[in-house]
C-alpha cells in the first residue's frame, strides 16, 4: 500500500511540475472548467426565474445537488480523467506497453499516471457552491453528516471512475474508444436532476439500472432534510459492485492486448 502511495506521490509531483511549466495552459483549462460549471448554474437560475420548485426541490436545494454532482465530476477530472482518456489512445497505438513494464498493478499505473490540477482547483469551487447553497438553506450539518457526505462523495467518485474505466476498456476489443467521453458527459447530466423527477421508464433506467442519479442524490440527501440510511447502503453497494466489474473487465481486456507494430 505504501509502495503505491509513493508511486502516486511521484506522479503527482511530476504533474504539478509539468503544470508549472505550462502556466498559460493551466489558466485556460481552469477557465474552461469554470465556464462549464457556470453553464449548469445558469440553467438552474433561469428555470427558477419561472418556477418555484422542480420535483419538490427549491432553488438552493437544486444548487446543492448540482454542486455535489460537479464536485464528484471535478475530482474525477483532477485525479483520473487524463490518464483514462490517454489509456484508450495508448492501447490503440501500442504505447500501453510502457505500463506493462512498470513495477505495479497495471490498472493502477495506467489510470493514475496524470493529475490535472485545474480540475482539482475547480473542485474547490464546486465545494464552495455546496457550502453557499447550504448557508442559503440555513442548514447546520453536524460532523457526522459532513463525514457521511464526504464518504458518499468518495463512493460516487469510485462509481464514476469504474464507469469510465469500463467504457474505455472497450478499446481492448474494439481498437477505438472514441466518443466515450461524450457518452460519459451525457450520462452525468442525469446526476444534476432530483431523483423525484424520474418517473416510468427513465426511473427504471437511470435510477435503478444505471447509477447516474443516486451518485449525486445520495450525498446531497445527507445534508438536506429527508435523509434515509438506505441511500448510504445502496450507494456503497453500487460502488463496490461497479469497481469490481471495472477491475474484472479491465483485466479480461488486458489478456487481449497484443501491442502494436511500430
Amino acid at each position: 500500500m505504501l509502495h503505491y502511495l509513493k508511486i502516486w506521490l511521484a506522479t503527482a509531483r511530476y504533474s504539478i511540475v509539468r503544470t508549472l511549466m505550462f502556466r498559460g495552459d493551466f489558466f485556460v483549462w481552469s477557465l474552461v472548467e469554470l465556464f462549464w460549471m457556470t453553464v449548469n448554474i445558469l440553467l438552474i437560475s433561469v428555470i427558477y426565474r419561472h418556477t418555484a420548485s422542480i420535483a419538490g426541490w427549491s432553488k438552493y436545494e437544486m444548487m446543492l445537488l448540482v454542486g455535489t454532482s460537479m464536485l464528484i465530476q471535478r475530482l474525477l477530472m483532477g485525479f483520473f480523467w487524463s490518464s483514462i482518456f490517454e489509456m484508450g489512445r495508448n492501447v490503440r497505438t501500442g504505447h500501453f506497453d510502457f505500463f506493462l513494464a512498470q513495477p505495479g498493478n497495471v490498472m493502477f499505473m495506467a489510470t493514475t499516471r496524470k493529475l490535472d490540477p485545474d480540475g482539482l482547483l475547480n473542485s474547490f469551487l464546486a465545494a464552495g457552491l455546496v457550502i453557499y447553497s447550504a448557508r442559503e438553506l440555513g442548514l447546520h450539518p453536524g460532523w457526522m453528516d459532513v463525514l457521511l457526505y464526504l464518504f458518499l462523495i468518495l463512493c460516487g467518485l469510485a462509481i464514476h471512475y469504474s464507469v469510465l474505466v469500463l467504457s474505455t476498456s472497450a478499446v481492448f476489443w474494439l481498437t477505438s474508444a472514441q466518443g466515450v467521453e461524450g457518452g460519459y458527459f451525457t450520462l452525468t447530466e442525469f446526476s444534476r436532476i432530483p431523483r423525484e423527477a424520474f418517473k416510468g421508464v427513465p426511473n427504471i433506467l437511470f435510477v435503478w439500472l444505471l447509477p447516474v442519479v443516486v451518485v449525486s442524490n445520495a450525498p446531497a440527501r445527507t445534508l438536506l432534510p429527508g435523509f434515509d440510511w438506505r441511500w448510504v447502503l445502496w450507494l456503497f453497494a453500487l460502488a463496490v459492485i461497479w469497481l469490481a466489474l471495472a477491475v474484472y473487465v479491465f483485466h479480461r481486456g488486458l489478456r487481449r492486448y497484443a501491442s502494436a507494430s511500430s
Binding site: W29, V46, I47, T51
Partner: protein, 270 residues
C-alpha cells in the same frame, strides 16, 4: 466560373464519401443525443409540473424547441472543423493549398457542407426510433412565411457556425494548442446559442443584448423561427440583417487571420 465551382463540387463529393465512412460514429453520437433529450424531458417535465407555462410556452412547445435544436446541431453545427483545420496547419498539410488555385475557406466549407449533410440525415434515425414517445410532445406553427424566412436564416447560421470554427482553427498559426480555446468558446456558444435553455427565458435586457452577438444566430435564431418563439416577421427580417452583418464580419476576420497567419507560417515536411 463553372470550372471554379467544379473543383469545390469534387471537394464536396470527396467530403461526402469520407464522412459516410464515419456514419456509425455519427449514428452513435445521435443515439447519445437521445439521452440528452431524456435529460431535457425529465428536467423540464418536472419544472412544468409546478407551472402550466414557462416564459409563455407550454411543455410541448419547449420540447419541440429542444428537438429542433438537436436537429439543427447535426445539420449546421460545427463538430470538429476547428481541429481539422488546426491539424492541417500544424502538420504542414496546407502546403498543397498554397501551391494550387484553391481557396482554402471554400474548400473547407465544401467539406463541412458534405459532413453536415451526412450527420443531418443520420440524426433522423434515432429520432424516428424515439418518435412514438416524441410525437405527443411536438407542436409546430403552420405559417408558411416561417419557411421563407427560416431557410435563409438557417443558411446564414451554418456560415456563422463554420466561420467561427474556421477562425479558431486558424489560431494554430499563433498557438501550438487550441483545444482549450475551443472548449472555452463552446461553453459560451452553448449558453448564448440557446442550447441549454431558450434565450427568451433570460431577463429581457440580457435577451436583447444577446441579439447583437453572433452566438444568438448560431442556433437560437433559426430554431426560434421554426418553433414559433419568434413571431413578428419584421423583427425576424431585422434579425436576418444583423445575421448577415455577422457573416460578413466573420468572413472578413477569417480572411484577415489567414493572410496574417500565412506570414508567420513555416512550411515543414515534404
Amino acid at each position: 466560373m463553372l470550372a471554379s465551382l467544379n473543383k469545390y463540387r469534387h471537394a464536396f463529393l470527396v467530403g461526402l464519401q469520407s464522412n459516410i465512412v464515419y456514419r456509425w460514429n455519427f449514428a452513435v453520437r445521435g443515439f447519445f443525443s437521445l439521452f440528452h433529450l431524456a435529460v431535457v424531458f425529465v428536467l423540464w417535465g418536472a419544472a412544468f409540473a409546478g407551472s402550466k407555462d414557462i416564459g409563455g410556452y407550454d411543455l410541448r412547445q419547449t420540447m419541440t424547441y429542444f428537438v429542433v435544436l438537436l436537429v439543427l446541431q447535426f445539420f449546421i453545427g460545427a463538430f470538429n472543423e476547428d481541429y481539422q483545420i488546426s491539424e492541417e496547419i500544424r502538420n504542414g498539410l496546407i502546403n498543397q493549398f498554397l501551391l494550387k488555385p484553391i481557396n482554402y475557406f471554400t474548400y473547407r466549407f465544401s467539406i463541412f457542407s458534405a459532413a453536415r449533410l451526412v450527420s443531418g440525415t443520420l440524426i433522423f434515425l434515432p429520432l424516428l426510433v424515439a418518435m412514438p414517445i416524441l410525437k405527443d410532445y411536438l407542436t409546430f406553427p403552420t405559417e408558411w412565411w416561417r419557411l421563407a424566412l427560416g431557410l435563409p436564416a438557417l443558411l446564414l447560421s451554418a456560415l456563422v457556425q463554420f466561420s467561427i470554427a474556421y477562425c479558431f482553427g486558424l489560431l494554430s498559426f499563433w498557438f501550438l494548442e487550441i483545444q482549450g480555446f475551443v472548449i472555452l468558446s463552446m461553453a459560451v456558444e452553448t449558453i448564448l446559442g440557446g442550447q441549454v435553455f431558450p434565450l427568451d427565458l433570460m431577463p429581457a435586457s440580457i435577451f436583447r443584448l444577446t441579439q447583437y452577438l453572433p452566438f444568438y444566430y448560431q442556433m437560437y435564431f433559426p430554431g426560434a423561427i421554426f418553433t414559433g418563439r419568434l413571431n413578428d416577421p419584421a423583427q425576424i427580417i431585422r434579425g436576418l440583417g444583423i445575421e448577415f452583418c455577422w457573416v460578413l464580419l466573420l468572413l472578413g476576420l477569417g480572411h484577415f487571420l489567414w493572410v496574417r497567419g500565412l506570414r508567420r507560417y513555416t512550411a515543414v515536411g515534404g
